[in-house]
Symmetry: C2
Subunit: 146 residues, 2 copies
């Protein structure tokens, strides 16, 4: 994706529609899951800026909703057993554990979103550490490319 | 953000809470709006992959909801008049036009989300080109750093 504007990609994609039907190749699958994980990273960073009071917290609920949405599809993005990107082979060799962690992540962010809407953003922000166990999972399953 | 895991940032942010109260400095404001725009970029890319049939379209509605959420706060992220990042000075010198475009973008992605929920993802996908005028706005207001 680097160097290609997302809008350009969308236009290219739509122009390609008459050719539709090609199977997902491995790089497409890797790209797809990386866009999901990058969305999580961007939105977690927004909450970090808000929690540190670096920026005002006007949009806390939107950021939490965005995290919960991306979390809800993150496991599915890894279902195709395609090695590559920053995923370690353990994602698939330890699938039951990986799956459990991702489902737990989705459930906790969904709960945080529910609390944000029902009780307010401050209550939800108190759940951030428990709901975003990014590092514990990345330590096991991600080989970060610096 | 590069090189800092988002989870680490969240932990750092929470540890910094007792020091809370510092004013948003310019880099924080630039970081915040860049995370919003990057979220839009990642999610638009997901729709691009789906539209090209590169990956299955199981999560279309989630991606559209994610876009609509980020679009809904994107104007607010530019309200502080802080030059820098990839924003051209014209964002603020042409604020009425910039504001109109961003509000239009938010309204169109909200409508696309509504259609996705009420009529289904296929109907919503037909609205993508009209709802994501990324390039026309970036040509005027973004100076992309390659």
């Amino acid at each position: 994706m680097r160097g290609i504007d997302a809008a350009t990609l969308v236009v290219m994609a739509v122009l390609a529609l008459p050719l539709a039907g090609r199977a997902a190749d491995d790089q497409d699958i890797i790209d797809y899951r990386q866009h999901v994980m990058k969305t999580l990273n961007e939105q977690a960073a927004e909450l970090g800026l808000i929690l540190s009071t670096a920026v005002p917290g006007d949009n806390v609920t939107s950021h939490i909703d965005s995290l919960a949405l991306a979390a809800s599809i993150s496991l599915k993005a890894f279902e195709p057993k395609v090695q590559g990107g920053e995923a370690k082979p353990e994602v698939w060799s330890n699938w039951p554990d990986f799956q459990k962690r991702m489902k737990d992540f989705a459930a906790k962010t969904a709960e945080m979103s529910k609390i944000a809407h029902e009780q307010g953003p401050d209550q939800a922000l108190g759940m951030v550490i428990g709901a975003l166990p990014c590092k514990s999972c990345h330590d096991l399953y991600r080989s970060e490319k610096k």
